[in-house]
Structure formats: structure tokens, C-alpha cells
Assembly symmetry: C2
Homo-oligomer: 319 residues x 2
């Protein structure tokens, strides 16, 4: 890799940018052929997991709220968390990066570094990609991982009587977005939670040994619990009294006169791992009980045994 | 799948669109878990090949020149051809689709159908994806395929004395773009070549048994021969007298008073398979000899033994 320089992508060009974002030293042992050929070649075993996520400037992020590294980390985390939520291990990412020619080269190079940094947190690396010109910035990350044959944890395995448990923060990214939307830059801990999630990727592999269903919370706790409920044909009852509201959330909520539980129940983008486990088993490290799976005529999500009505999560195209 | 209806994505919403573009019936036997979970699960063997390509409205395509199906087919073909050029078999695609809320739902549904149609031509299917709102239309396709362990054909294996051969059309997409850029809609055969390539995907697997190096022509014949030359440390001499100029190209070139060989030597996007083979072996079916690999002090591409100077191919960000 060479220094990005101070110019724009128009000066650097497609091939100049590629030269500056490929980092052969960061390739893991899983990579047989890294960037520079028609495809990457990756050594994998068991079954192959694949997921893709697109982040669009002005929709998912704003440059005045997030740095280039933040955007890269967040784009990578969305796909890495999906592999973790299947109980898999990510082996490689491929990244498509679209940006206007006027984009500072340093922004593009830093964004690529953010993707690599987050990949490394999950024990993976960037094996290839595509860079194109585009009217706005678009970052697409595809992750491939593997899981033992038959060992991937689907959304569809939850059974009545199971415990609902979560690993990781939830509601923090939504609180951070609320802070930024009101024109503030602090508290820093909330703003950072919007900029990039903190995902415990290895917890997914550990949980896979005992979880009956698993998902990562990207749309919101109620929405994603709903995906488990729908796929499994069960009702999930979230026990909202089972957790303490973190001080940072209750303080911000008090300042804005809102209910912090709405952030925690409907806010997405924290990518916590949400899973169901047999009630007879001890929860894996990092998971805490936040509800239960109950038997009802139809699949649904309840909060404290009741319907909860405050919008269930973000939906693209809808305003 | 349900009918797309006549409205826009704003009316249909993210989840409505997902419902209309998922086609469980099109899934191949390689798919263990298809759309609807955190990741797809794919049965693969040998080594895993992965590649990703982004198509941006206004950069790669225009809606007045290409239909939604065309755009979907072309987006899929770019990645499918990369897998073929490694000698691999594509097992699954994942697709990210970004579009404004004002986009007609029917456009999005047709684009997804185009991706599926092209995937089916390569014996593959769409195993998952992401749909997001975006200021302009962006389609990103990632393909995963497999090849026998150690059997992927890289760009780096060409040796002096090898024959350079090609399978498929080249220069046609560039000629089609020239026709459209001048405001014409015919000849249809050229316009269609711009709209979507015709790639012989299975020829890549067959060629893999004998090819020393392979690539698909996406940047242009000289540019992609140059990628083989650089990776292999050889000089490739293109014998431009070895092929006849197709009538459609010579007629259009005559009408516009341009040299059709420039389209054929520098035009990309046809995704022909370009490979090198030992001169002692018979070329695989579909491949024709168009040059040779020669021994020179530095790696380079020659045309009829000479340097060729007419721009080597498209480069993003440069104007």
C-alpha cells in the first residue's frame, strides 16, 4: 500500500485507488488467492454461508456524522454479524465501493481500512472487491463464512418453553442517532454506538452449540424477535422488566423527554445476537435472558405479555 | 411471488418488494437455506471462488437504453463471467438492490428476474440479498462458485510459447454503446450486445483442464491481455489479422467512419473468455486462436508485434 495522497479519486483513478486499498499483509490463511485475479479463492469447510449488505450515503450514514473509517467498519459489521448469527465463522469479505470522482482519495482509503479493521475483529479479511464511480457513496460488503454441515443456526428452530436471550447492546445506536438528529455530538458513548456497532462475533460460534434459533438485531428487537417468531411459528414474549436501562440511555431519554424503552425495543443497527435456548441449559457466556418463547395460536411478539405499539422498526422506501 | 402491481416502491415498501422478488422455486440443489434467514447456506466442494460487481445508473447503464431485465442480466453476467474465467462453477448469487422510493415496483421486480434468468444460464440461482433505498439505482451482485482444490485458473500461469485464444464475442458491446451514443437504436444486434452480454459460462470449466491462464474480457482485449501479461510476467502478442471483422461491426464502423478494430481491441463488457494454452494441445471447443505468448524482457501487450496506442480500456473516476 502507498500513501493515499491529498487529491481526489479523479486524480488517483480506479487502478490507483485499487493499489492503495489492497493490503496483501492482512490476508488470513483461509485465502488461497487474494485480490488481483478474476475472483478470490478461499479455503472453506462444511457449508458455506453468504450474506450481503449495502450502505448508502444519506440513507444509512452522513459524512458529517460518521468518519470514513466508521462507515467502513459499520458496512463490514452488518455482514459479519449475519454470519455470526448463523453460528458461522467469516472467512472472507468482498467489498464494492462506489463514489464520485470528487471524493478525496484519503476518504476512500480510510473507508477500506475500516472494513479491514472490522473484518480482523472477526478473524477475517478482505479478499477482493470492485471500485466504481457513482453519484453518491455506496459501500456493499458481502461476507462468506462456514459452519459445520447441518450446524448453521436458523431463525426457524425456536420452541415453546425456550428462553429468549441476547448478547450485546441494544437501543444504543438508535439513541446515538437521536442525539445526532437533535444536533448534538455527545454523549460520545451514544454517538459512537451509531457510528459503528460493537459486536461479539465469537459469541455466535459458541452459542451455536446450544441455540435453537438465532438472529442479529439489525431491524430492532421487536422486529427481529418477530422474524424468529414468524420463522419458528411461535410467540416470543419479551420481558422488558428483565433488564436495567443503561444510565447513558436513561439520561439521554430524560433530556429529550422520551421513553428509552422505545429505543431498546425498536432501535436497530446494534447487531446484538438474539437467540433462543432450551430452558434446561445454562446460557452461554455473554448471553442474558430477556424473555421466553410461549405457545399461542399465532406467531407474534409480545412485550410483558402485551402487544406493543410504537412502530416495529425501520423499513426502506417507506417514509 | 405475487404480481408487482403498478405502484412505486414507496407504496410497496422494503418487505413487500422482498416478497415479490424471492423465488423459492428457482433455487438449485446447492442451496441448503435460501432467502429469508441471516445468510444463505450453500453446499460447495473444493475451493470457494468469490467475486463482486457493482452497476450504477448513469455510469454503467441508462434506463432509456436498457430495460430492467437487461440491467439485472448484465449485473449478474459480470460476476458469473468472473467465476467462469477461473474455471469454476457458480453455485449462488447474492444481490444488493438500491433504488429511490419513486422507482416503479415493476422495474425492481423485473431487474430481479433478469438476475435470476442470467444466473439460471450458468446453472446457478439467487440465494439472498438486500434491498435498500438509494438516490439512484445501484445493483451489486456477488457470485460464489467452486473449483477443484488447486484447479482454479489464475491470470498468472501464461508461458512463452503458449497460444492466446478467445471464446465469445469482443467489441460488440462497445459498438452497441457507440450506436446508442449517436442516438440510434439499431442495428439491434449491436444494441443488444451493449444491453447484456452473451457469455458461454460452461466453456470456462471445460477450458480449465488445459488453460495455463484465463480472464474474462471486461475492460477490453488489450487491457485484459495486459492483466495476464503482468500477472504472468510475459508479453502477449495479439494477432489482429487472425480474425475476420464481423459484418455488423464493419458496417457500423463504416457508417461512423471509425476503425472497428478499436472496438475489438479496447471495448469491454462482452465478457468473452480469454485464455492461454500450450501450443501442443488442441484448443477446447469454442476457443479460437488470436495470438501468442512470447518471451521478452518486460511484460507487455503487442498488436501484430507492435505497440498499439488508442487508449487501453475504461477506467472509473477518470474522465
Amino acid at each position: 500500500m502507498e500513501e493515499p495522497g491529498t487529491g481526489t479519486l479523479a486524480e488517483l483513478g480506479e487502478f490507483g485507488l485499487i493499489e492503495r486499498i489492497i493490503d496483501q499483509d492482512s490476508l488470513t490463511d483461509a485465502i488461497v488467492v487474494g485480490p488481483g485475479d478474476d475472483t478470490a479463492v478461499v479455503r472453506m469447510s462444511g457449508e458455506v454461508l453468504i450474506t450481503t449488505d449495502m450502505l448508502v450515503e444519506g440513507v444509512h450514514f452522513r459524512q458529517d456524522w460518521s468518519s470514513a473509517i466508521d462507515v467502513g467498519r459499520r458496512a463490514a459489521a452488518a455482514s459479519l454479524a449475519d454470519i455470526a448469527a448463523m453460528g458461522g465463522s467469516t472467512r472472507a469479505l468482498v467489498v464494492s465501493f462506489g463514489a464520485p470522482s470528487s471524493t478525496p482519495s484519503a476518504w476512500a482509503v480510510a473507508c477500506a481500512a475500516g472494513v479491514r479493521e472490522e473484518a480482523a475483529r472477526a478473524g477475517a479479511c478482505v479478499a477482493g472487491g470492485d471500485v466504481v464511480s457513482s453519484p453518491g457513496i455506496v459501500v456493499n460488503v458481502t461476507a462468506i463464512g462456514d459452519a459445520p454441515v447441518g450446524g448453521a443456526v436458523l431463525r426457524s428452530g425456536a420452541k415453546a418453553g425456550d428462553v429468549l436471550a441476547i448478547c450485546g447492546r441494544f437501543g444504543w445506536a438508535a439513541a446515538g442517532l437521536a442525539v445526532l438528529s437533535r444536533g448534538f455530538k455527545s454523549p460520545r458513548v451514544l454517538v459512537d454506538a451509531h457510528r459503528f456497532p460493537e459486536v461479539n462475533y465469537s459469541a455466535g460460534v459458541v452459542a451455536a452449540k446450544g441455540a435453537s434459533a438465532m438472529i442479529d438485531v439489525s431491524d430492532g428487537l421487536i422486529a427481529d424477535a418477530g422474524h424468529i417468531a414468524d420463522a419458528s411459528g411461535v410467540t416470543v414474549d419479551i420481558d422488558a422488566a428483565s433488564w436495567e436501562i443503561p444510565d447513558a440511555l436513561s439520561a439521554a431519554a430524560a433530556a429529550y423527554n422520551v421513553d428509552p424503552r422505545v429505543w431498546m425495543l425498536t432501535g436497530g443497527d446494534d447487531h446484538a445476537l438474539l437467540a433462543t435456548f432450551s430452558a434446561r441449559k445454562k446460557l452461554p457466556e455473554g448471553f442474558v435472558r430477556i424473555g421466553s418463547v410461549i405457545d399461542r395460536a399465532e406467531s407474534a411478539v409480545l412485550v410483558n405479555g402485551q402487544d406493543f405499539d410504537a412502530g416495529s422498526g425501520y423499513e426502506h422506501f417507506k417514509r
